[in-house]
């Protein structure tokens, strides 16, 4: 039976460093941000309480820089009391603050819950402490071990290549993007539920059906696509050799990575992620046909420099095989030279001359030929005409 991820309800007194740092810690911990509330939220008191009840959070996370911030959070805390005081098991309340005044104000507000005070999340130590605390509360042990393994893979690859490495993993229920660099802190984004299997419907809920559909290299009507996504979500792990099912998987992988990156950007770490020399694809992304894996990386990551792409394979997913090289050339001046000892991999060199940001035509008559051309450019002819 699948264990659900740790669900976090987050409330920051104001948008800014506290909010961003809390989001970053949640992503690093691999928890699910079930609902985010702030004092400026336009929802009424009752709607906030209902949102919190519907979210059924395991943790209610409050971030306050000072006592005034804590006062601003009073109504959100009341909504939590109104919505979740009777929840079984009751959510734990985590208050992240370095201010004694904020602590003294928040404690009585959250008296009905078990309260833990953690240090100011804006500092690295505080953010790390929050991520560690959240990770320790996770009950989805297998998923947590997988997150750990991805981080270890990124770290080991960075050491081996003596360069910045990005691991991109798309699985059924989660999407992870981990950046490691020798001598620098590891940046981890474990976005869930966001994936190509049991969380496929969540990708559509977040991205919208049209954004998923645009990656499919033929015309497909919305109801049919939605059926495939919903069935995929409720029949996770079912494999298919049909081109239609594979195309949905590829389209979902595109949007899952895009939204994991969007989450990272909301947490203030988006731009830093893609400045790497090596990318490792793993999980469901590595199981796609090699040229498609390379194309998904080129489509979704905003790469400024040439990167070597590797595929994680083997039973434990730690064996790396060169997949190809992506040479961005959006300004029309791509470099094609390779060092003598550099392996162009299974696919070869992909010179990506498409202008950034990538624009996909809206009309099928223009979109289908454009996307099909990209498929064909990497040696995957488009056959299905669903």
């Amino acid at each position: 039976m699948t264990v659900r991820p740790l669900r976090v309800a987050m409330a920051a007194a104001q948008a800014g460093p506290v909010s961003r740092s809390m989001r970053r810690a949640i992503l690093a911990a691999g928890a699910e941000l079930a609902v985010a509330l702030d004092p400026a939220d336009p929802r009424s008191f009752g709607e906030r309480a209902q949102a919190l009840r519907d979210a059924h959070p395991d943790v209610a996370l409050f971030g306050a820089a000072d006592g005034a911030d804590a006062d601003r959070l009073a109504l959100v805390a009341e909504a939590l009391r109104f919505g979740c005081a009777a929840q079984r098991p009751a959510p734990h309340a985590l208050v992240v603050t370095g201010d004694a005044g904020a602590v003294s104000r928040m404690r009585p507000l959250l008296a009905e819950f078990e309260v833990v005070i953690l240090p100011d999340v804006r500092a690295n130590e505080g953010r790390r402490a929050l991520a560690v605390h959240l990770r320790a509360m996770r009950r989805d042990v297998a998923a947590a071990e997988r997150d750990d393994a991805l981080e270890a893979l990124a770290f080991a690859a960075a050491e081996a290549h003596a360069a910045a490495v990005l691991v991109v993993d798309v699985s059924g229920a989660s999407t992870s993007i981990v950046r490691a660099q020798p001598g620098a802190a590891l940046i981890a984004v474990h976005a869930r539920p966001l994936g190509i299997g049991s969380a496929a419907d969540r990708v559509v809920a977040r991205a919208g059906l049209d954004r998923v559909r645009r990656w499919i290299p033929w015309a497909v009507d919305q109801p049919t696509l939605l059926e495939r996504v919903f069935n995929r979500a409720r029949w996770p792990g079912v494999l298919s050799s049909a081109a239609e099912a594979r195309a949905v998987e590829i389209a979902l992988a595109h949007e899952a990575i895009a939204h994991a990156l969007a989450d990272a950007t909301a947490a203030g770490i988006g731009p830093a992620l893609c400045t790497v020399g090596h990318v490792i694809v793993s999980g469901g992304l590595a199981e796609l046909p090699p040229p498609i894996s390379l194309l998904v990386v080129a489509d979704t990551l905003d790469l400024a420099e040439r990167v070597a792409v590797h595929r994680a394979s083997g039973a434990d997913g730690t064996t790396l095989r060169p997949l190809g090289v992506i040479a961005p050339a959006s300004d029309g001046r791509g470099s094609l030279s390779l060092a003598r000892d550099q392996d162009a991999g299974e696919v070869g060199i992909l010179v990506d001359g498409r202008p950034r940001p990538l624009v996909i035509p809206v009309r099928d008559a223009e979109r289908v030929p454009a996307v099909a051309r990209w498929y064909e450019a990497v040696g995957v002819p488009v056959e299905a005409t669903a």
Binding site: Q50, D201, N231, S240, A245
Partner: protein
């Protein structure tokens, strides 16, 4: 996903604003109202503790009304003193829904009532503001996803066989209050017509996801949607799109026709209040599998079944 008879605990999650709850130990029948309340949106916050001059912790001592009581405009919420009285009154007709830690009263206008009915015959085992749970014995069939409010009614079969789609032409007002068994597929037209005719709910192998979006809105996902408003109720047993029901599922459904039943949306289950001897279950031999293009679910030959096929009693 198989039929089974036995003891069950059915939990009914409640929206915020519950005003009346059946106490624990209450014996209920399926369909009895076990909780009711009002939808809470905006609230008026009245500074009661400050106005009557008591510490927030002492407010309970001087409160004249308690959550969750109805109040009329100018009703006294709390009062202190005898000669020189200090009082806080409600500024509106509404319901006192919450007292804050700071001693303020949150009063919400009553705009929209909701009710929760028990899905099975049994005894209330848990009763609090978040959820009610009822324990009882009945037949149950766990489905894949359900949408809409909980539904109760007499079970009626509206198709000729498990591979048939529920045709709108087979639905009329004579089926008001019933739960219709719809075969392999129920399109949006059939679902909305059933609702318009007063049908309580529809149990079907699959419903088209696009059609469900038309009925329930674009933010729908594959996990179901529990609502408390007046909307159709659909229980998808196997998948989305189209899914012929295996005989092991359909035959007991047909034999339960005429029995009281309920669709419990939160657990995506069908409960049938029939004696344990009311149906004989055929041995589960069928296997079902997602079609290669993932657009439907089909029954596969048990002999030729691939590892992708699920036995009916598989733990999903």
């Amino acid at each position: 996903m198989t039929w089974g008879y036995g003891p069950r605990t059915v939990e009914h999650p409640l929206p915020v604003g519950a005003a009346r709850l059946a106490p624990e130990g209450t014996v209920v029948r399926a369909g009895d109202v076990i909780a009711s309340g009002a939808t809470v949106t905006r609230v008026l916050v009245v500074s009661v503790a400050r106005r009557v001059g008591v510490e927030p912790g002492d407010l309970d001592r001087v409160l004249r009304v308690r959550p969750v009581a109805d109040v009329a405009r100018n009703d006294i919420l709390a009062r202190t003193g005898r000669t020189f009285t200090r009082a806080a009154a409600s500024p509106i007709d509404g319901r006192l829904v919450h007292i804050t830690i700071g001693g303020d009263a949150c009063i919400a206008p009553v705009v929209d009532d909701w009710r929760v009915r028990s899905a099975i015959d049994g005894i209330v085992a848990r009763s609090d503001a978040a959820a009610l749970a009822v324990e009882g014995e009945c037949w149950a069939l766990a489905g894949l996803a359900a949408y809409g409010p909980d539904a109760l009614g007499v079970l009626a079969v509206a198709v000729d066989g498990p591979a048939d789609a529920l045709a709108p032409s087979r639905i009329d007002v004579l089926q008001k209050g019933r739960i219709l068994v719809g075969g392999a597929r129920a399109a949006a037209e059939a679902i909305t017509r059933a609702h318009a005719c007063g049908v309580s709910g529809v149990v079907v192998g699959a419903a088209p996801a696009g059609g469900l979006r038309v009925v329930y809105g674009d933010d729908l996902d594959a996990r179901g949607l529990l609502t408390f408003d007046d909307r159709p109720t659909v229980l998808c047993l196997i998948g989305f799109g189209s899914a012929e029901l295996p005989r092991e599922i359909f035959d007991p459904l047909a034999s339960f026709a005429g029995q009281r039943a309920s669709i419990h949306v939160a657990s995506a289950s069908l409960f049938v209040m029939a004696p344990a001897t009311a149906a004989r279950l055929p041995a589960a031999g069928s296997r079902i599998a997602l079609a290669d293009d993932h657009a439907s679910v089909r029954i596969v030959d048990p002999e030729a079944a691939s590892p992708e096929a699920l036995a009916l009693d598989a733990d999903r």
